[in-house]
Every structure is written in structure tokens, then in C-alpha cells.
């Protein structure tokens, strides 16, 4: 590897994880924790339920928070990576063009009540946004954001965090992870300095007894989750099988909408567009999706991914092969949103299970030879 490559691959270290500090929090203090955040001047985003739709919204009172859903419909990535944002705008005056590109990303923010699968997505995405180009939109916001997540004590059939190396009580990406270990106690794992500072300021956390453990509380959900496929087998199979009839068989029902990528906590593709008027305009950054036919159309009109089968394969290749190849992590946290919300039940778990089974068959045949 050349020095250049080495530099390209260097990833800014995420905030140093110190040895987690264990504290205890009483459930009745959960609301106080949110209130304290608001009082300290944080912008607080938390799951909010409107009709049947649960999404992360900015809240002004703990009463608005809804923590009962397994996951929110949309992931909290939009807090750091909004679906639409202005990069800069300009006004054409008589003798000059005035550019307005000053934006303040430093508003202290708390993402409260996100699930460990969502929190885990942040350091995975850091790798991309701190790769060859350091994206200030993501990084500045990330620095100003505190992630307080809550371990899952339940899951549904679409959840598969345990199959991609995570768990319903993973601390990855959380500044503070809360796990309800009994009806009257949360165990707080304070993972970062940022988290410790905040915990200190709130004065709501108690000393934790040495006997506090989260494992008994999350054991049942871990068992329910099980292991849905063998993730170790996925990449080696993908390395060998770019062209395979399997892709046609498993993706033919895909209709090419953007739901899977837009509900995903780790999909991060965007498009830069100009919205111009006679006296000014703006450069806008919008979410984009590899599932759209127009995503790869060249100026010549040629489209290297001419059908939905190749576009769907791309999504899986990106998550389980290209991203691990380039940035050393699987681009998926097993949150299950793509599985849950696909109108055609394409079902990523089914596809990964299929790959893991095909790989097992290949291995057996190799050994037999």
C-alpha cells in the first residue's frame, strides 16, 4: 500500500472511548433527564408518535416522547444528515453575486431514546464522512451531538442486529446507553467523555452497585433474535458471485423505490442539485438512492445498471462487500427497517440467509472435490 493510499484510508479516531463508567438511573428520572437536557440548552430529538407514525422529532417536553416502538419508522440519521439541506445560496445583485454559505452546525444536540442499532450506525458512517473528504456537515453536527440510547428488551421478526455482530444492548455509537435492568432501575453505561460531562451536569445518576449487570435483562431478547444467517459467509460469497442467477431470483419483485435506502440508518448517498431563479439560487444536498433508475444514468444516456436486478445487487454489494473492502465495516446494523417497510417484502434477511446457505453448499462441494 502506498503512502497515499494509507492516508486515504486513515479514519479520524472517534471520540476516545474510555472505560465505561457504570451508573444507575431511576425510571422516574428519565423524564428529568430529558428536561435537564432542554434546560441546559440542548436541542433534543426523540421518538414522537403522530397517528401510527413514530419518527425522531425535536421536542420541547418529555411528555412528547414515545419509547414503546421497537424502532422508529425513519432512522435518526436525518439529525446529522438531513434529507434536504442547503449547501450554500447566492443572490445575484446589480454588480455582484453574494454567496451565503455560513451555517452553524454547533447547536448542542441530544438524540434521545435511539436504539443501539441506530447508535451503531453513527461510527460506521463516520468512516465514510471522514474518509478522503471530511464532510463538515456530518462531522460538525456529529461533534455537537450527544447520543443517549436505550437497549431493546424486545424485538420483532425483522430485527437482525445479532446477525451482523451487534446486539440489543451494544454500546457502539452511544455516549450513554441505558438498559432497564429491573422495574425500578436503569443501568447507565457512560461510554465517552462527552457522555460523562453531561451525566455529571444533570446530577441525576446514582452510583451503581458492583452487582449491576445488564446481561440478565437482555438475555431473553438476545435468544429471541438468535442468529438469522452466518455473516462470515456473506462477503466471501459476494467476492465470487457478482454474476449469478441467484440475484435474478431474489430481487425480481423489487420495484425500485427508495424506501429501503431512505429508512436505512446507514445508507448515505446524496445528490447535489441547483435550484436557481433569475435573481439567485441555492446548491442543495438531497438524499439519493441506488435503487432509482436515474441514479447511474451517464450523460451519454448509457446506464451501467440497466435493470432493478443490478440495482438491488448493488445495495447488497455496497453494504456487505464494498464498504467492508474500502472502510472496514459492514454498512448495516440489522435494524430491520428495510425488511419491515418494503412494500414487496423483498426481505434482506431472506437474501442474506440465501447467500449464507449458498456459501455453505459451495464450501461443502469444495471440500468434496
Amino acid at each position: 500500500m502506498s503512502d497515499d493510499d494509507q492516508e486515504k484510508l486513515s479514519v479520524e479516531e472517534p471520540e476516545k472511548e474510555t472505560q465505561p463508567i457504570l451508573k444507575a438511573l431511576r425510571p422516574e428520572n428519565l423524564n428529568d433527564l430529558i428536561r435537564k437536557g432542554l434546560d441546559l440548552g440542548y436541542r433534543v430529538l426523540a421518538p414522537v408518535k403522530a397517528d401510527e407514525l413514530v419518527t425522531f422529532e425535536q421536542i420541547s417536553s418529555p411528555d412528547e416522547v414515545f419509547l414503546e416502538s421497537i424502532t422508529t419508522r425513519m432512522s435518526p440519521k436525518s439529525v446529522l444528515f438531513p434529507r434536504t439541506e442547503r449547501v450554500f445560496s447566492y443572490r445575484i445583485g446589480k454588480d455582484q453575486i453574494a454567496v451565503e454559505d455560513k451555517q452553524d452546525f454547533t447547536a448542542p444536540t441530544i438524540i434521545f431514546g435511539c436504539r443501539p442499532c441506530d447508535a451503531a450506525s453513527f461510527p460506521i458512517m463516520d468512516r465514510l464522512f471522514q474518509w478522503d473528504y471530511h464532510d463538515k456537515f456530518w462531522n460538525e453536527r456529529r461533534k455537537a451531538t450527544l447520543v443517549i440510547s436505550i437497549s431493546c428488551l424486545d424485538c420483532d421478526e425483522a430485527c437482525f442486529c445479532t446477525s451482523v455482530g451487534l446486539a440489543p444492548d451494544s454500546t457502539q455509537g452511544s455516549d450513554i446507553l441505558l438498559t432497564q435492568i429491573s422495574p425500578d432501575q436503569y443501568l447507565a453505561e457512560i461510554m465517552t467523555e462527552k457522555g460523562a460531562d453531561f451525566a455529571e451536569k444533570t446530577g441525576l445518576f446514582d452510583e451503581a452497585g458492583a452487582d449491576l449487570e445488564k446481561e440478565p435483562a437482555t438475555k431473553a431478547v438476545k435468544e429471541k433474535l438468535g442468529e438469522k444467517f452466518d455473516v462470515e459467509k456473506i462477503k466471501p460469497w459476494l467476492d465470487q458471485n457478482y454474476d449469478h442467477d441467484f440475484w435474478k431470483e431474489v430481487t425480481r419483485m423489487c420495484i425500485g423505490c427508495g424506501i429501503c435506502t431512505y429508512v436505512c440508518p446507514t445508507c448515505h448517498c446524496f445528490d447535489l442539485v441547483d435550484e436557481a431563479h433569475y435573481d439567485g439560487g441555492a446548491k442543495i444536498k438531497n438524499w439519493d438512492a441506488c435503487q432509482f433508475a436515474a441514479f447511474t444514468v451517464h450523460a451519454s444516456g448509457h446506464n451501467p445498471r440497466p435493470d432493478q436486478i443490478s440495482r438491488h445487487r448493488q445495495r447488497i454489494m455496497h453494504k456487505y462487500k464494498y464498504y467492508p473492502d474500502n472502510l472496514g465495516a459492514i454498512l448495516c446494523t440489522g435494524c430491520g427497517r428495510c425488511v419491515r417497510h418494503c412494500p414487496m417484502e423483498v426481505n434482506l434477511i431472506r437474501i442474506l440467509k440465501g447467500i449464507s446457505q449458498a456459501a455453505t453448499v459451495d464450501d461443502t462441494q469444495k471440500r468434496a472435490r
Partner: protein
């Protein structure tokens, strides 16, 4: 019923009369099904028919990934058949190019999807082979009751309602992709030289998209409700679609998907067409 469907599918594939049977198989999540494309007779056991067969499979008739396989047989509920008929009316497919395995249907979903209680095609109006007992069409239904109720609101209230709904839009275009009548090879929303419809999901962009989509389906939407079912942020798109359907019905006495010989109003001119809007 499913046994008869499987038997027929096997026969059609063995004889070579069709190359693919488009149907449903059990999904991986509970109470779901997934579209399946059966090309060999030994796979017919995968086919299922139950109240979770939501998807309007007609959308695959105009998708190259499926149409390239060869002549299809398609399992279709009454609402799905309306989509097939509308595609024939709009010259996207020929009737003889598809074999319709019609299924009578008492409604899908548990609880029933909102389209089902106001359905008047429990027995499909067109099919090659019908499965299930015929159900006579309901006559005492008002398809537009909720639209009429909504029209009672003031323009300000309606504006506020839609503003709130469209604000949720994330521009995933699932409403378009799932729609059997949204078959344009290049959608106006994807034309970017110039960019007619802003791709941003700010208020203006969301209005652009949602209104254009609804207008392009006026007099064409057969109300299968797939856009609303697919929408990941629960925008009540069917209410919008049916508001336009109501206008078309009132002005032109026309509903798409009922008669394959009928000319769609926007492709046809009649002397007696209502023209009160020309002042």
C-alpha cells in the same frame, strides 16, 4: 382454491401456454406475502392465496424484469384486474398477451384495507379463468364518502391538512414505483435537463411531486390503494387520488378499469363533454 390455482399454473407452464405465473408466496414476516414469478411447474407449490395478498401484481406486467420472461399468467383480484384493463385501455399491453387468473376476493388485510369495504369488483370484471365463488357486485356503496366529508372543510383547513401530510414526504417515490399506471419510462420527476420537479423534499418540492403525481393519475387511477399502502410515512394518497377520480366521474361519467373498450377521457373528445370551465 389455492390447489386449483396451483393445478392450473402447472398445466399452463407444462403446456408452454405461458412462460411465467405471477402470483404470491408467503413472506418472511408474519401476515405478509411476496410477489413470486413461477417459471417451472415444479415450483407451483410456492403459490399462496390469502387475505395478505396485498400487492397489485399488474405493476409487473409493464416491468421489463418480468415482461422479458415471456407471456405471463397473473393472479389478480378485482382491483388488480382494473389495473390490467386500464393498461389495455392505454395501449400498454394487449389483452391476448396476458392470461388472467381471476380470484374472487372479500377484501385483504386484517383489519380490511380501507379500499375493501367500498369495492364493487369482488368478482373481477375480466378474467380467463375464475377461482372462487362469484360474489355479486355491491350496489349500495358510496366510494367517495370520505372525499365528500373532506370537502366540507374550509380551503384553509384542507390546505393545512395537506401541508402537514406532504411535509412528511421523503421523496422515495414508492407511490410511483408501486403504481401499475405509473409506467412512464422516464418520469417527469426524473427529467433534469431542466429539472422540472425539484427533487428536494422541502415544502415546495414536496408539493410539486405530490400534486404532479396525483394530476397525472386523474382519470387513470383505478384506486388499488397501493401508493397509500407503500408510503413509508403514511400520507393518505388515496384521498387525493379519489378526489380527482370523483371529478372525472362527475364530468365525464367515466371510471377507468371497468371497460377495456372505453376511451379514457383525456385521450378522447366528445361534443357533449362538460365544458363549463371554458368561459
Amino acid at each position: 382454491m389455492i390447489e386449483q390455482i396451483r393445478e392450473k399454473a402447472k398445466e399452463l407452464l407444462t403446456s408452454g401456454e405461458v412462460k411465467v405465473v405471477i402470483g404470491y408466496e408467503n413472506g418472511g414476516l408474519p401476515e405478509t406475502t411476496r410477489p413470486v414469478f413461477i417459471t417451472t411447474s415444479d415450483e407451483v407449490e410456492r403459490l399462496v392465496w390469502n387475505k395478505h395478498c396485498y400487492a397489485n401484481l399488474a405493476t409487473f406486467l409493464v416491468r421489463n424484469e418480468v415482461s422479458s420472461i415471456g407471456k405471463p399468467a397473473i393472479i389478480a383480484k378485482g382491483c388488480d384486474v382494473k389495473a390490467i384493463t386500464a393498461l389495455i385501455q392505454e395501449s400498454q399491453i394487449q389483452r391476448e398477451d396476458v392470461l388472467i387468473l381471476g380470484v374472487t376476493c372479500e377484501g385483504v388485510g386484517d383489519p380490511l384495507l380501507s379500499k375493501c369495504p367500498i369495492c364493487d369488483v369482488n368478482t373481477p370484471r375480466d378474467y380467463d379463468i375464475l377461482f372462487g365463488e362469484e360474489i355479486p357486485p355491491k350496489t349500495d356503496i358510496n366510494k367517495f364518502a370520505d372525499v365528500e366529508e373532506f370537502e366540507e372543510k374550509s380551503p384553509e383547513e384542507r390546505w393545512e391538512f395537506w401541508e402537514k401530510q406532504f411535509e412528511k414526504c421523503i421523496k422515495c417515490y414508492a407511490c410511483r414505483q408501486v403504481c401499475p399506471l405509473c409506467y412512464c419510462e422516464i418520469c417527469i420527476a426524473d427529467k433534469n435537463q431542466p429539472q422540472w420537479i425539484e427533487t428536494s423534499s422541502h415544502t415546495r418540492g414536496n408539493y410539486h411531486w405530490n400534486l404532479i403525481r396525483a394530476w397525472h393519475l386523474s382519470g387513470r387511477c383505478i384506486d388499488c390503494g397501493e401508493c397509500e399502502r407503500a408510503c413509508p410515512v403514511d400520507i393518505p394518497l388515496s384521498l387525493l387520488n379519489r378526489r380527482l377520480a370523483k371529478s372525472v366521474k362527475e364530468r365525464f361519467g367515466y371510471e377507468p378499469g371497468y371497460d377495456k373498450e372505453a376511451a379514457p377521457p383525456f385521450t378522447d373528445f366528445k361534443q357533449e363533454d362538460s365544458q363549463e370551465f371554458i368561459k
